[in-house]
């Protein structure tokens, strides 16, 4: 059972990670590099008095840096897949149907739990933004992801208003409590770049997660068919 989970998760994670990396390099990386020009002080932004052109040459492909991004995107999405596939298996044991089509919905829920829920209060950070202590933000991030994932599970598989009410509380609580915030806002990056970065990060995350869910559902249902064909395993 574990080997089947591992195989499905790694196939799905590597494929979705590759798609995430390519989308990131195409759509997010130029925005990130543009922001770094302000983060490092190469460009300086003075609000309405700024005369810095909005279009900057941010360079092309950097084989080492971009290669590492591809590698780490595959690792991150393989990690996510190793959580997603076992959850699918547990749901299947309780009567849920798992296939590539349903997987798309699982993927969308994964995006909501891991990107949208924490990002609703702790927005995807463009390099250079002011932020609170990273350890405190990470604790809040994990707690929020866990609460959102549990809430989505309760919404999907709950059978009464009690569980749905608990789900609403779990979804709202992290944002009512609030995330760690910086004392002073010192970000040197123009707000236009920060907003575009957050929007692009969400878009790429959603596309990658929907693909991850679809692939995970596809590979897991294939493994289950193979297991049924060989009952002795």
């Amino acid at each position: 059972m574990f080997t089947r989970m591992l195989a499905s998760a790694l196939f799905a994670g590597v494929a979705a990670g590759l798609i995430a990396a390519l989308l990131q390099l195409w759509f997010v990386q130029p925005v990130l590099l543009h922001a770094e020009l302000y983060e490092t002080g190469a460009l300086v932004h003075f609000g309405s008095a700024s005369t810095v052109p909005a279009h900057q040459d941010v360079g092309g492909i950097d084989p080492l840096r971009d290669g590492l991004s591809v590698l780490f995107a595959m690792l991150v999405y393989s990690g996510y897949a190793l959580i997603l596939v076992p959850l699918m298996a547990l749901a299947q044991d309780r009567g849920a149907r798992i296939d590539a089509r349903n997987g798309l919905i699982w993927g969308l829920c994964g995006f909501v739990a891991v990107h949208l829920a924490p990002g609703f209060t702790l927005a995807p950070e463009v390099p250079g933004v002011a932020a609170a202590d990273v350890g405190a933000r990470q604790i809040w991030w994990f707690a929020t992801v866990l609460a959102a994932a549990a809430a989505l599970w309760l919404i999907a598989f709950g059978r009464n208003w009690g569980t749905w009410a608990a789900a609403i509380v779990l979804l709202l609580a992290p944002h009512v409590i609030g995330a760690p915030e910086p004392d002073v806002l010192t970000g040197p990056v123009p707000t236009e770049i920060g907003a575009l970065f957050a929007a692009r990060a969400f878009g790429v995350g959603m596309a990658a997660w929907v693909m991850l869910g679809g692939f995970a559902g596809y590979f897991w249902s294939r493994e289950m068919r193979a297991a049924d064909a060989v009952p002795a395993e």
Partner: protein
């Protein structure tokens, strides 16, 4: 007869054990690639961490 009754729970236990183990590995992978602050790891994963919405610095 008992063996037949015990089949379903046994398979569920198997799924739960395998799922728990797999999820721990997945969590470890996400923590190491996305959250550990060691300099080398942070620099290598920097762009992915930002693009994925992890708290980075």
């Amino acid at each position: 007869m008992n063996a037949h009754i015990q089949t379903a729970p046994a398979s569920r236990t198997g799924t739960l054990a395998a799922a728990t183990f797999a999820m721990l590995i997945g969590l470890g992978l996400v923590v190491v690639t996305g959250h550990v602050q060691a300099d080398t790891l942070h620099d290598a994963a920097h762009d992915v961490r930002h693009a994925t919405g992890f708290p980075c610095h």
